[in-house]
């Protein structure tokens, strides 16, 4: 039940607090109000609501950090 899917915000209707989100070609309306997002953001949608912005930078930073730790451990 905690399933959530990642899509991209195509447009926002601020009056209705709704965003149109693209999930690999299908457009779905998702409710806003739980996270600060804008058009173009990749977002995680759960039970019809945008739960979080997806951060590619954070992911990349983490991979770089994990690599660093791994290399240090191997060298030690």
């Amino acid at each position: 039940m905690c399933v959530a899917n990642t899509g991209k915000i195509l447009s926002i209707d601020s009056e209705k607090n709704n965003a149109s989100v693209d999930f690999r070609g299908s457009r779905i309306n998702a409710r806003m109000g739980l996270a600060d997002v804008k058009v173009g953001d990749r977002v995680l949608v759960h039970a019809g609501c945008i739960l979080q912005k997806v951060s590619d930078e954070q992911y990349e930073e983490w991979v770089a950090l994990a690599n660093e730790i791994e290399n240090e451990t191997e060298e030690a």
């Binding site: 039940m1 399933v3 959530a4 039970a47 019809g48 609501c49 994990a66």
Partner: protein
Amino acid sequence: MKDLKEIISFLKEYDGEEIRIMEICGSHTGAIAKNGIEAMLSEKICLISGPGCPVCVTPSAYIDRLIELSLESDTTVVTFGDLLRVPGSRESLREAQGRGAKVKMVYSPMDIIGIAKDSPDNKFVFAAIGFETTTPVYALLLDTLVKEKIENVKLLTALKTMPEVVDVLCSGGAKINAFIAPGHVCVVTGSRIFEPAAQKYHLPFVVSGFEGEDLLRTIYLLVQNKGEGKVINNYPSVVSYEGNEKAQALVEKYFTKADASWRGIGNVTGSGRLIRPEFSRYDAGSAGLEYDEKKNKACSCDKVIMGLISPEECPLFGKICNPGNPQGACMVSPEGSCNTRFCMG
């Protein structure tokens, strides 16, 4: 970070001390089965499913109360589809439909707003079950009801929180060495919520995504960190240490911490949430729904949920109990351990 190939061969060839890893998210249970993860692991790495499916841990008292409400002349119960076939102490909501229960299925709790506005003379009750992931959605629903002054909608809540039940599992008999922490719960709460349990029981928790590759990396990290009391975030694109603070604030505004009754486990102190007294006009009577009577006395859901037996060890599994004729909640939802095992082998 090792590449995936190295991780796969490490996990297949692992010959160290046995490690028992529990996943406590129903979506992880499904993803593990779908990706055939168990077959990729050495016999020394055991995966156990825990109480991660909200439908499976909802006690029969809650289902009975939903049925009662749905039979009131002016009330319709609105719910996610999964809940329809969960046995109450005598029948499920679907069975009750045969004697006039009014039930409507939706994709999102927010859909109830349009339904209620279209029928102002009728009352609607949303069956609000779920963990920390879904509670903010119910908070957003309450916020909308308050702001738009919609008075013909209430929630019957059975909301659960993970850390308290993890405490019960760690002190139970399942001998767990490590946890795959629920990724979408942590999106909301932050990875920090599992730190106290990690430190108290000296167990690693790795927050995981839901792709096969994510899960393999997670299991690798758990094996590498066996015996270490720490939380590792392996889902950093959406999970942070603090979590979604905006969602947390909205949850705090509308809900208060409360005890909760878990099917198969019983009452767990502080493991749930109830609507705050100041918003009680939106509550359809959620407090005190505690009793849990089995429809079929031989159902072993309680032991399956606690990780004490695997679904096949239940005497009813695959015989009288199957997805077409579920005897217990674990066979109903595609996230339930028995259903997953039956459908994906």
